[in-house]
Symmetry: D2
């Protein structure tokens, strides 16, 4: 490698947390440098932000169209090699689509689109573009999640028989009980946020995670959502029953009114031979439960971990890495793809994950609206 | 008090764990002495067991009928004052009924009966008998569960908005995957065990617990049970969606195939103002979560606990009490009732709890069999 | 066994926590019945307490001398078979001595005596009496402590190379900072409490525990105690360096001013092959650490545990037992000894443990007073 | 800010973990760019490493002297603004000295020097140079450590009365028991590693931490070190008694033979009013213990945290940051100093911390060698 991958960014300016997350993640493995982008719809703010983060302003563009035309005008070796799309949700689809159509590799925040239909269109676009596309289900980059996936794939817990995933937050609690606040929160406005709040924002993470770690596909869902107030049209809590196959079942629980919870995302997979448990807030512990055996606690960086897990750990055991490192691993995977290096297909979530996520959101809402009935989510 | 309460026991002989649990619990507060009973259908074994536990054999009876007639022949002050029914499930109802009809106070193991219909009959019998009746939902005796109940009742978490209860065990896993074993396990035989295995055995504990701590009544259930094998007719895993009122929802998850889990019973109640969490395997910790505040960890024996909680703690903070102590608190409550002392209605579960439990089992199975539909469990 | 062992109790009346602990413990395995004793120096209160706990008053004696003469006048098979000494510390020695001299088996609370000299005298008395003597280092009865001991004995962690034990409480904190309170607390009065507060009360537990689990003997100690105020003559905090042999060292930390701590007693033993850790406030978890391996978490009641550990567990895994059960196991061991049943020498602490404890207290104080120098504690 | 701070690095090439730690840390807040340095004594390897991490090779120098002369020849605004010294321990002193003498700001890994004498010389050099100097006691950058410091400074736990710090690792265990390995490990070679292994490497972290969080200075130390084998001259385990003032004591425990431990660094500070506890392996939890109150668990990113703590957290609560973020906060502090922005003096450890650390190492070894006696560590 003779220089860093040139990364452009759309959105993520100012105090944007997602902006920080992506910039830090991109720096984790000495693989990327941020060369420009459109941080903000206001060009002036975009320029100021570039100065604030100490990057040259010459590739800070007025808008996406200018970015595309001017970058394409650059010699191949100077051009942005991948663009991260960190804009508000409803812009993910049009921006990603245009980028793919113009031959750019894309790292897209989730939810990938606002509808399943858009997702299917984007899939077609990608097929024609022959570029690289990643959707940032951040949590799949954690070393112990990768370990979990590899252990299940290797049959260490036997056939999966029960899946239980929880994603509990409490942040919307102080908003939802205040009629004024709930009327003025963009997350609760379907125009801005899509058809779902809770399922769309965090339920999808949970859904993606269980398909990621188990390697199984959910076949049917039955959802019971909660809105708490009559004047609120967006779900802020929801339990979804899952069917993988006739005798493999699961339950996905997501909430934004689990008062006092921060980001309590927890995954439990039970197989015929053993169970595995993991919690996002203590991401460096993976619990292995076997009938009649002492529970084992796996941690990152040990020789007993899989290659995929070890590739996502930078320091020796006992030096806790966190969520930036998890996203950093996703960026590392994309970098390998861009560089045509060997990489494991599980190093970053792809279009397929994005599509499954959109399908899940729509079917969960459909199930609820039809009176909590089973709805298929196979295509 | 001039002497201990005279306790008779039906069942619980030999290595019976439930027998140990009740005998130890009865001794916790210097309130009871075991004076006799029918420990085993074989009279000889009953007598031997009496010797093994060092009690006189003169009140070890051949069967329940002899117990009743001979005890009633004794002077009032010598008679057994309460009988604990620890026999196999299908005997709970006929034995308890006969005891109540003959004026004995009864402590009955759960499930109280094998059907809801029996439960309603027993309720009638109790009304006519004017005796004391307790059903041993053991876990409600834990000091931090009592604390949880009192805090919710006092409004400390505000209006309850979400309920999540889990009861995961793995013990049936090595049985269910062995066709011979699963054909020969009494828990999987509806003749011996009633219409449900998992919901009946542990789902009811979970159900009782949430009604206990929240003071709310579940209105409707929608259950999805799992049987894993076609030749197995008893549920060994089940998720039940719960509706308390239009905007208060919950989920109850129970499993006996959560491989490697021991007795992972966990309760989470989220209210408008705060959340409370508790786990049975570490029963002396109660977690209070409030928006934007440090989580607080309450423990037994502190002055900040409610009177009901403190009454169930014997030693100072940091001296862990356990499940025997929890059951001991239930026995203590019954002792107060027998002695006509003041007691808190939450000191022991009653007929109403037993009836709710049977209703829940039948309606959960009904919901599942009808295709996972909502079924009312109000009467 | 045809009847329960007849247990007499000295002290432990009224609200005495130690009284509750011993009574409940004695009942744990259907092995004992409390038949009388001297609960209180005031005979009237003793009688009232007997009534309160529902036992006959005919064997409630005025004092120890009456107990001895009257019990000895009873036929052998009716006589108290063992006496528990739960009186204030300074009475342990004279009472235990008199009981041994009169042929009674004794269960003695710790500290066994107030001086090492007394302890040596008591040892002689015991040798001559041919009775059974136990000293209640309560915590050694925990199943996972027994497991720890057996694993170390079996070489599972290899040669012990480092020992770290902590016993932190905070209860004296609100007393010590109030000059009036600290002047009027019996624990801080050497007349009533012996030469040491913290080392004497909890340091000894820690000391006994490490000799118990490792099977090693401490050779030398170097102590640094803390008194906080000039007008306080009793240690309330102390760190003691330990030498087992030239290259095996350890540290014992005890405190009663570890503000906010409850009963935080923790043991860590590191060997050439592995380490073991345990914490009293969560006594059902034993952590096994091996180089490069996932940590394993052992719990009670599993087939992988030693016979000694399993003998101290009553219920299946996941049903937490606690401190009453730990003391109950000590009582069970004594019962076996009384009944001439086979028992493991580690089932209850003996005279030797009591002597070592007294030796430790005196040598730790001596080391501190001499300016924190090494003092031998071999005899 | 119009561009990033130009950072040069000495050492840290190849697979160096410390190199990764510093590079990632420098990128955390968009404040630095690595522009060159001397990654390796072999110039060729240095150049290759530059290519591997995608930075230009034009400022990769043959050695430190070339770096100094050539950088000084550059226009002020292009010159390296700070140099991180990540070379083997014995090179820290000469390199840092030369850099300071030539007017460069320095970020120096710990131990700052190999002797206290060198440290004092370096202090003088710094005084004359008027540059910025930081020593990277990594762990002081954790948000909850900053919070701990600020709470103690604000009097929230009252006067400190007891300090307990532990730093346990097990990595040397498989080395020390193999005579060949222990003869060939540089850490155990005083020529390469200084007079101490365990105290020097991790004991100093523990020492710095307690002076950092309490704001107190240790006055005297009494150390008992362990070498395990006669042919090993370097301590691999050691307990150090600490005196802050007559009635404020502490204990520092460090070990590299705590078999199976990873990086178990734990700090407990008890004051007259409350106690605070923290563990490095779960760095986002700070435990506040108060007499008779529920324990409180503080986490990063909440409004209740101090400004200094909040400044070191990038994401909302529940998104775990880790050790890179901790070091990133130190780099951020240095960046503010370089940019002449306001900063809190606790944002990065300074020369004084480095000197205290060297003093501690020498005095601990001296105490041990003199037979475990008290040695003053005030100057």
């Amino acid at each position: 490698m003779s220089s860093k991958i040139k990364l452009g960014i759309l959105g993520g300016g100012g105090d944007s947390l997602i902006g920080i997350l992506h910039r830090v993640a991109s720096a984790m493995y000495d693989r990327y440098e941020v060369v420009g982008g459109v941080f903000n719809p206001e060009h002036e703010e975009s320029l100021n932000f570039a100065k604030a983060i100490g990057i040259p302003t010459n590739r800070i563009y007025k808008d996406l169209d200018h970015l595309i035309s001017e970058e394409k005008a650059l010699p191949q070796e100077e051009r942005m090699q991948v663009i991260s799309v960190l804009t508000p949700n409803f812009l993910h689809f049009p921006m990603a689509k245009k980028l793919l159509e113009n031959g750019f590799n894309v790292i897209c925040e989730k939810p990938m689109t606002t509808t399943y239909e858009e997702a299917k269109i984007l899939e077609k676009t990608l097929e024609q573009s022959k570029t690289i596309f990643a959707v940032t289900y951040t949590y799949t980059g954690y070393p112990m999640i990768r370990q979990m996936k590899e252990m299940i794939a290797a049959g260490e817990i036997g056939k999966v028989q029960k899946v239980d995933v929880q994603y509990y937050q409490g942040w919307i609690n102080p908003i939802i009980h205040d009629s004024e606040k709930r009327a003025n929160t963009w997350r609760l406005d379907p125009e801005k946020s899509g058809i779902s709040c809770c399922v769309g924002d965090i339920g999808t993470h949970a859904f993606d995670m269980i398909e990621y770690v188990t390697g199984l596909e959910v076949q049917e869902v039955l959802a019971d959502l909660n809105y708490l107030y009559e004047d609120n049209v967006m779900d802020i809590d929801g339990t979804v029953l899952l069917r993988f196959s006739e005798h493999v079942k699961g339950v996905l629980r997501s909430s934004q009114i689990a008062t006092g919870e921060e980001n309590n995302f927890a995954v439990k997979i039970y197989g015929e031979k053993a169970g595995l448990k993991w919690e996002q807030e203590n991401p460096n512990y993976l619990y292995l439960l076997e009938d009649g055996q002492p529970m084992r606690v796996l941690k990152p960086g040990h020789a007993y971990n899989s290659e995929l897990s070890l590739d996502g750990t930078k320091l020796p055991p006992g030096h806790p890495e966190g969520i930036f490192d998890s996203m950093g691993n996703i960026y590392k995977g994309v970098a390998k793809a861009i560089r045509n290096e060997d990489y494991h297909p599980a190093e970053f979530p792809t279009m397929k994950d994005g599509i499954r996520g959109m399908n899940f959101i729509e079917k969960a809402v459909e199930s609820h609206k039809k009176g909590n009935v089973w709805v298929s989510i196979t295509e």
